[in-house]
């Protein structure tokens, strides 16, 4: 451990070059691609196979152990949004002026696909995130604006959320409805 610690301490003393002039002067290329579509597909197929296999095993095990008349174990619906996302969407809608949006939709996608929906030019295609799109009459009460400036208003409230930490990554209010593949209805609580 000491050797590793010494290594990092020694690394922290290495002189660093100044490349700011290089950054200013160069014509930027493009970010390298993430995993290839074929690679991603292979991972998705493998994940699905593992899930189906695991689920079949569990279903068989539970079925064998089930008492007569007991309930049958059902898989979670693949198209249902997680409960925390529903709660977060409702809180966002209510907190920004419309607790009863006329529509709400969600999709689990990647940060690059979701980026334009929340006003960003691009995102990381390797990072998964939830995108929620709601239509209603919103006032961006959670937005920070300079003193004296009106809060942004709009008919569309969008936000992205981290599937792991459940934190909101980006959000915005606009009048533009984003078209993102895979969006499906998100049932919000009526309360």
């Amino acid at each position: 451990v000491t050797k590793i610690g010494d290594g990092f301490a020694s690394l922290a003393r290495v002189r660093t070059p100044d490349v700011w002039a290089d950054a200013l002067g160069r014509e930027p290329g493009r970010l390298p691609d993430g995993p290839s579509p074929v690679g991603r597909l292979a991972v998705a197929v493998l994940s699905l196979a593992v899930f189906v296999g695991g689920f079949s095993y569990l279903a068989t095990t539970f079925d064998a152990a089930r008492a007569p008349g007991g309930s049958t174990m059902r898989p979670p619906a693949a198209s249902s949004a997680p409960g925390w996302l529903v709660t977060k969407a409702f809180d966002m809608a209510k907190g920004n002026g419309d607790a009863h949006p006329t529509s709400a939709q969600w999709v689990l996608t990647d940060a690059d696909t979701a980026a334009p929906a929340v006003g960003l030019a691009s995102g990381d295609p390797d990072v998964r995130e939830y995108l929620v799109v709601m239509q209603g009459d919103f006032v961006a009460r959670y937005a920070s604006v300079p003193a004296g400036q009106p809060l942004p208003r709009g008919s569309v409230l969008t936000f992205t959320a981290d599937p792991e930490t459940r934190e909101i990554r980006d959000w915005g209010v606009s009048n533009s409805v984003p078209h993102v593949p895979g969006l499906q209805d998100l049932p919000l609580p009526t309360g």
């Binding site: 050797k3 020694s10 690394l11 660093t16 290089d22 014509e27 970010l31 960003l120 030019a121 691009s122």
Partner: protein, 157 residues
Amino acid sequence: MQDARVDEARDALERVYRSERDRLWRSLLAFSGSPEIASDSLAEAFAQLLRRGDQVRDPVRWVWRAAFRIAAGELKARSRTGGAMPETAYEMEQPARELVAALARLSSKQRLAVVLHDAAGYPAGDVARLIGSTPAAVRVHLMRARRRLRELMEEES
């Protein structure tokens, strides 16, 4: 007016550069084993950030992620083309050289996790967000990486 806004945006990004440069460059060096890749990835990431300007909401997180993707891409390209092996003798003390050599023998994910956590000082949750993983997976990579590093550095001595 337009020029003033451009200057202001550039100044803001230069402040980001000045605050992140040392930590980011050293982390890239530890990850790639090459001062040349570290410098090029750092410059390219900031060139791309400058082009995107205020479209990027979190420039620090963005530039870290971009720089490591660029460095990983360059390492991959070099391994494909059989390019020169990264050099590790760049005005470094012996402990740093040994560490960089040992890091080069870890898997890419383990190396990335340990560099971002132990060299850059990011907590596991932030490392997970930077590399698009989960904190639990990052902790597993860290545990395995440190165990392997210990073995490699003991072998070396």
